[in-house]
């Protein structure tokens, strides 16, 4: 009981000290909100992005034509395609952030060329991740291009084009009104005449477009309201806030060693682990308070962020805070002076923040950086918070990021506490 009381006293002391440091309080509480606001406004409905787009593809048609189109999509340099059996499976991957979009070749998709010659629109459906709107634009352009190239190739090959037209005549059969059948036959004859002369590339998109690409934004399971840009930037703001809390507490701990207050604490009848636990608890309380402030702002009508589940949000937030308590302890254990730890801490945290997607989403990074991102706690913080705020993560999906965050927290705290050097001399 006495041990717990000592830890609480030390934690309250640290929270007081952090609150009274105006600059520290700004970076802990105000900066995350400003970050979310600024970048939320900047990226509302737009964004910049390059590189390949990761696409989940479901072929519900399973015809020769659709298979050929799947092969064409897979061969595109602009896309990285993974085939899934069902829409549910593909959507789930988009929800988890593993894929940027889901494209479905619906039943009846068939061969785009024959579909078009029959006078129907080539129909594709899909779901895109709202945090990847820039990629969505790239995806749409690429898909249109692929469809037209597919059709162009078909009509560039005279034999395939004749086969398509024969198929069309057959499909028209006897059901079509005689005048329509005659007109189509006349048109097809004309085309055949052109083909006989070696003509190709007959198709051009009309104003309405011969291709229908129906993409919807991924929405959470229980609600249909669109996800705002702020829902995407608040998790990033939280990550920056956690960084400020961790760095502030690291510097406070090392500063206590430099100033000599750590010696006075060491000479009280409490264990060193209690002193460090008090520091950790202080950091945790400040971090949780920062998250609460952030969620409070996010809830304002202007931001319009409504988490799926407040319980899961609380769980994800606490896990994120625990991870950064471990990060705090580790950073404090490197370096002897405040200046050394500040320099080291800023450098490491900044690199981890950038690598973990706290500034630029991981999806825009090259492959090797995406792999590196896995070791950054920021990446898991953002995944957990994205998950509960708008991806509709359930407890099971939250297990992995939260487990990793708790693991980072525990390992970081134990390793950091083991390496941290207490003062062994009264400082002069």
């Amino acid at each position: 009981m006495r041990a717990v009381r000592a830890i609480l006293l030390l934690a309250v002391k640290d929270v007081r000290l952090q609150m009274r440091d105006r600059l520290g309080a700004f970076f802990t509480f105000a900066f995350p909100v400003l970050y979310a606001l600024l970048f939320g406004l900047m990226f509302s409905g737009s964004g910049e992005g390059t590189g390949t787009v990761q696409v989940a593809l479901v072929d519900e048609d399973r015809s020769d034509g659709s298979r050929a189109f799947v092969e064409r999509m897979a061969g595109s340099d602009a896309l990285r395609v993974t085939l899934y059996d069902t829409r549910t499976a593909g959507t789930e991957q988009v929800r988890r952030g593993k894929e940027s979009a889901l494209i479905v070749l619906p039943e009846g998709f068939g061969d785009p060329a024959s579909t078009l010659v029959r006078g129907e629109r080539v129909r594709l459906e899909g779901v895109v991740d709202p945090s990847r709107r820039a990629e969505s634009a790239i995806l749409q352009g690429t898909l249109f291009g692929l469809v037209f190239r597919h059709i162009g190739d078909t009509f560039g090959d005279a034999e395939r084009a004749r086969a398509v037209m024969d198929e069309s005549r057959e499909a028209m059969g006897e059901n079509a009104p005689p005048e329509v059948a005659a007109a189509v036959d006349l048109m097809l004859s004309g085309v055949e005449g052109l083909l006989a002369q070696g003509g190709g590339g007959l198709l051009a998109a009309d104003a309405d477009g011969p291709v229908s690409l129906e993409l919807s934004e991924l929405s959470s399971r229980e609600r249909t309201a669109p996800v705002t840009a702020f829902a995407l930037t608040f998790p990033q703001g939280a990550a920056w806030g956690l960084m400020a809390c961790a760095l502030g507490s690291s510097l406070s701990l090392v500063g206590e060693r430099s100033r000599g207050t750590l010696v006075r604490l060491s000479l009280a009848p409490i264990g060193r682990w209690q002193i460090l636990a008090g520091k950790a608890l202080g950091c945790l309380i400040t971090s949780v308070a920062m998250m609460a402030v952030l969620v409070g702002f996010a809830h304002l009508p202007f931001f319009g962020v409504r988490p799926e589940s407040y319980v899961l949000l609380a769980v994800a937030s606490v896990c994120a805070c625990v991870a950064f308590v471990g990060v705090m302890m580790l950073i404090a254990s490197f370096g002897r002076t405040v200046a050394a730890v500040e320099g080291f801490g800023r450098a490491v945290l900044l690199v981890m923040a950038l690598a973990g997607g706290a500034a630029v989403p991981v999806v825009f990074m090259p492959d090797w950086m995406r792999s590196v991102a896995g070791v950054s706690p920021f990446r898991w913080v953002i995944e957990a918070l994205d998950g509960v705020i708008w991806r509709g993560f359930g407890p099971q999906e939250l297990l992995l990021p939260c487990g990793i965050l708790i693991g980072i927290g525990l390992v970081g705290f134990i390793a950091g506490a083991g390496m941290f050097r207490f003062s062994r001399m009264m400082s002069a």
Partner: protein
């Protein structure tokens, strides 16, 4: 109360303490004097259990080695670097440290109030320490060392960088501690302070004990027939100027309220030598920094 028995301590190749033996009696004010690098801070760090000796033994009466948890309640420390939180108020600082020693909220409040009054900071109890003068911080640093009513208090240069008024206030507090039969170990560079306050002093240099006795006996043995230090002013301006600068406050305070231990005061009054002469006689005049 506190016994150093042939204590040695080295850091790398540097021998900070070399077979130091000191016995500090209960209730006395004991001065630990020495030039920079003599081993004073190492001795205090060993006395409070932050360090452990390489050889020899340190014993706190009735408790054993000072690194034991039980020793924490008996020891109070006022480090030279101000071990208080600038962004907490004076009262918050004291209540925090009192709480760590297991006091209840009510006890903490009461003890903090009592100490703030004792060190003359009761009117600034709710103010942040960051706005305090050097002397006020020193007084609060001392109060923080007393918060758990220790039997032995170690003061590492408690008057460094304070004005004469604060120095006098600190002396009054120390006299109060003596009246309460609290044992005080006091390190300082100001010989006048030691002469005025200490019952006995030990002069150490390069980790070794050079002399240990009452101030009067030391002066009799080492400096009785020497002129007091002001004569050195012409001889070695650099050292003497530093000494004069350091002494200014003390000298003015000496003429102020009361004398300390009768021995030191008597010797100072006799004009036949002082502790500084003893100190220089034993440790030499070579600059150490």
């Amino acid at each position: 109360m506190l016994v150093f028995d042939s204590v040695s301590k080295s850091f790398g190749g540097v021998r900070a303490l070399d077979g130091l033996s000191i016995r500090i009696e209960p209730g006395e004010v004991f001065g630990l004097l020495g030039p920079n690098g003599a081993g004073k801070t190492t001795s205090i760090s060993l006395a409070v259990g932050l360090l452990r000796p390489d050889a020899g033994r340190i014993t706190l009466e009735g408790i054993g080695p000072p690194h034991r948890q039980a020793a924490r309640a008996a020891l109070g420390v006022a480090p030279q670097s101000l071990a208080i939180y600038d962004d907490l108020t004076a009262r918050e600082n004291l209540e925090l440290f009192a709480g760590l020693f297991g006091m209840t909220r009510r006890e903490r409040r009461g003890r903090a109030g009592e100490l703030l009054e004792r060190v003359g900071l009761d009117d600034r109890a709710g103010h942040r320490v960051a706005g305090f003068s050097g002397g006020m911080k020193r007084r609060l640093n001392l109060a923080a060392a007393l918060v758990h009513r220790p039997r032995l208090i170690l003061l590492d240069e408690p008057t460094a960088g304070v004005d004469p008024q604060s120095r006098n206030a600190l002396f009054d507090i120390l006299r109060g501690l003596r009246d309460d039969a609290i044992t005080v170990v006091y390190t300082t560079h100001y010989m006048e302070e030691a002469q005025r306050l200490c019952d006995r002093v030990a002069i150490i240099d390069r980790g070794r004990l050079l002399a240990m006795d009452t101030v009067g006996d030391l002066i009799s043995r080492f400096a009785a027939d020497r002129d007091p230090e002001p004569d050195q002013f012409a001889e070695e301006p650099k050292v003497a100027m530093a000494g004069a600068g350091m002494n200014a406050g003390s000298r003015s305070s000496l003429s102020g309220s009361g004398r300390g231990a009768g021995t030191g005061g008597a010797m100072a009054a006799s004009g036949s030598g002082d502790l500084e002469s003893v100190f220089l006689e034993l440790t030499g005049r070579t600059l150490r920094d």
